[in-house]
């Protein structure tokens, strides 16, 4: 998992404000009451499984869908009833939607011509936008004469040339192959930082969201589960659903035994000794402790001086080269996933199948979730 830490930005007035927005299609509810502020200059991601309402929310920002209830404000102005052609936002479509009967320059110039920009100015701005995405040499090409990556750049230039308040991106990289996608992720972020325009991206790819975003909203079933910076979402999820959706997670379900001084003592099913974990929950409440696989230490001997320790037998090893994922079965039958970085250059792994191992983790490296 790539975790690019991006510099924090100063807080400016919100580029987009979503106020109690709902969207129903007949009986089906696509968006179920969302409040959200997206700050100016942010690279904001809406992340969630397909059908969670993220695309519908994006289309309401663009003006292609009308909210059933609630309001959409762009740069402080109420845009709920304003049609797409009068909103100061531009969208990059999943299919890129380049006009097939126009060449690259005409595609990029289309928006400026609609606004009645002077001819002399159009040529300069089109060239500038194409240079920004390194497509200056392709101005006379038709869309079908270009690769997917080149089309993606032209589509971005077509959005940026109008200097919108917000650029909306609908799964911008899903049509590209893996290598190109990873390269393009950083390019997109660099361009966004250069132009300073707010980007709102819809994606179902969590790595993409983590790599590119300043903040992420995790969505499910028409609601926002959590909004935060990438590492907050990963390290401190506020619900089991978020923890499960982002990365790999071990869950131990059980009940809270006691809670004092920000530390919870937890009785987990299938584990004899009580677990301790940082957090604050009422004693007796049902909950789950979540530990990420890379936060667990694994050894043949029991570690000394750690808060939480269990032991089990290695049943499966997935060797991925840089890391290995171990499936450890506890005596109660519970299976715990542990990832270990393969730091040493060795032909034989230190731990192998059917080895008895001790797993331990610090109470601060686990989260208790209601």
């Amino acid at each position: 998992m790539s975790l690019a830490v991006r510099p924090e930005r100063e807080i400016r007035p919100p580029a987009i404000q979503i106020r109690g927005v709902e969207k129903r299609f007949g009986d089906a509810t696509a968006v179920d009451g969302i409040d959200l502020d997206i700050q100016e200059g942010e690279f904001f991601s809406l992340l969630g499984p397909s059908g969670c309402g993220k695309t519908t929310l994006l289309r309401m920002m663009a003006g292609f869908e009308m909210p059933t209830a609630g309001a959409v404000l762009i740069a402080g102005a109420d845009m709920t009833a304003v049609p797409p052609y009068e909103r100061p936002v531009n969208m990059m479509f999943q299919s890129y939607a380049l006009f097939p009967h126009m060449n690259v320059a005409d595609n990029v110039a289309f928006g400026l011509r609609q606004d009645g920009v002077a001819k002399s100015e159009i040529a300069g701005r089109v060239a500038e936008a194409l240079d920004l995405v390194q497509m200056g040499d392709f101005a006379k090409r038709k869309p079908h004469q270009m690769s997917g990556g080149q089309r993606q750049r032209v589509a971005l230039a077509r959005c940026l040339v109008k200097r919108p308040k917000v650029v909306l991106l609908d799964e911008p990289l899903s049509a590209l192959d893996k290598k190109l996608r990873e390269k393009t992720q950083f390019e997109l972020v660099n361009i966004q930082e250069k132009v300073g325009i707010t980007f709102v991206m819809v994606t179902h790819d969590q790595e993409e969201a983590m790599t590119m975003s300043t903040r992420i909203a995790v969505m499910n079933a028409g609601r926002i589960l959590q909004v935060g910076r990438p590492h907050e979402i990963y390290e401190y999820p506020t619900s089991r659903m978020v923890a499960d959706f982002i990365g790999i997670a071990n869950f131990f379900t059980g009940t809270v035994e006691s809670s004092a001084g920000g530390v919870v003592t937890f009785r987990a099913q299938g584990i004899d000794a009580p677990l301790t974990v940082a957090g604050d929950l009422a004693p007796g409440s049902a909950a789950a402790v979540m530990v990420r696989p890379e936060k667990i230490q694994m050894g043949r001997e029991a570690a000394i001086g750690v808060d939480n320790s269990v032991s089990g037998v290695v049943k499966e090893i997935a060797y991925l080269g840089d890391v290995s994922i171990y499936h450890v079965r506890l005596d109660s039958g519970l299976v715990v996933l542990v990832t270990n970085a393969n730091l040493r250059h060795a032909a034989e792994p230190a731990v192998t199948w059917e080895d008895r191992v001790h797993l331990s983790w610090h109470s601060g490296n686990a989260v208790v979730l209601p």
Binding site: M91, F93, S95, A97, G111, Q114
Partner: protein, 264 residues
């Protein structure tokens, strides 16, 4: 694939079945003899006679006018119908509308012609319009038939069209009407051309429905040919057929060249 002699032979038989009669017609159009089945040497005199035949020339001119008018009418109506069917989603009576639009495709033309004739007669009794039968009534009937075909052709292209193209144009600041003329029309242009040509062709050789709604002095080319053939086949008809085949081949060749060049 292996090209066996049997396969080649089958291909030749197939092509011969399709094109030998036409080839024969073209050859006999240069026959000097009046006898249709006797070769009397090479001559182009039938072409000369054809160009002197005022009845044929008048009928051809009328047919072309009717075909162009009804194809254009069918194109406009067919485009509107296709837009409603593809873009307006579900609405009350969509199935009925779809059925009614495409009914002329399957309805026997003889019934359509008869129904139209009754309509025109009743209308004339009530309102005085149409004043007799001729160009207008034939063009209306041909538009009705052509529209059904045009709708089917345009609808399939519209359904394939990526709707986000229109959304992108709107997103970039174009109002819906402008989007239609700047994006939708150019993208579906090949299907519009195909629909127009199809309606044009259907109109040009329609006999059955036309018979009902044509009046004195409004004889279209196929009806003229049909009635003259009944009096005995004149080699002029062969010459006419040859001209039509060549014209069609040239048009198809041009369209093919144009669309191939565009793609390159």
């Amino acid at each position: 694939m292996h090209r066996s002699p049997a396969l080649l032979a089958a291909m030749f038989v197939g092509f011969a079945f399709l094109y030998a009669p036409i080839a024969l017609l073209m050859v006999y159009s240069f026959n000097a003899s009046r006898e249709v089945s006797v070769w009397g040497g090479f001559s182009t005199k039938w072409y000369g006679e054809l160009l002197q035949n005022q009845a044929y020339l008048d009928a051809a001119w009328l047919s072309l006018k009717i075909a162009a008018t009804s194809a254009t009418g069918a194109l406009v109506l067919g485009t509107l119908a296709a837009l409603v069917l593809v873009r307006y989603g579900r609405f009350r009576g969509r199935m009925v509308f779809n059925g009614l639009i495409t009914a002329p495709l399957v309805m026997p033309e003889i019934i359509l012609g008869l129904a139209m004739l009754l309509l025109f007669v009743a209308l004339e009794d009530l309102t005085g319009w149409p004043d007799g039968r001729g160009f207008t009534t034939i063009a209306i009937v041909h538009t009705t038939v052509g529209m059904a075909y045009a709708t089917v052709v345009i609808r399939s292209r519209l359904a394939q069209m990526d709707e986000s193209l229109e959304e992108a144009a709107m997103d970039l600041g174009a109002r819906p009407v402008k989007v239609f003329f700047l994006i939708t029309i150019p993208v579906i242009a090949p299907s519009l051309a195909a629909a127009w040509l199809l309606a044009f062709t259907l109109s040009l050789d329609d006999v059955v429905a036309t018979q009902f709604v044509s009046g004195p002095g409004s004889t279209t080319l196929p009806i003229e040919v049909f009635s003259s053939v009944r009096l005995g086949v004149s080699p002029q008809v062969n010459a006419l057929g040859t001209i039509i085949v060549v014209a069609v081949a040239v048009v198809i060749g041009l369209v093919w060249r144009l669309s191939a060049g565009k793609r390159r």
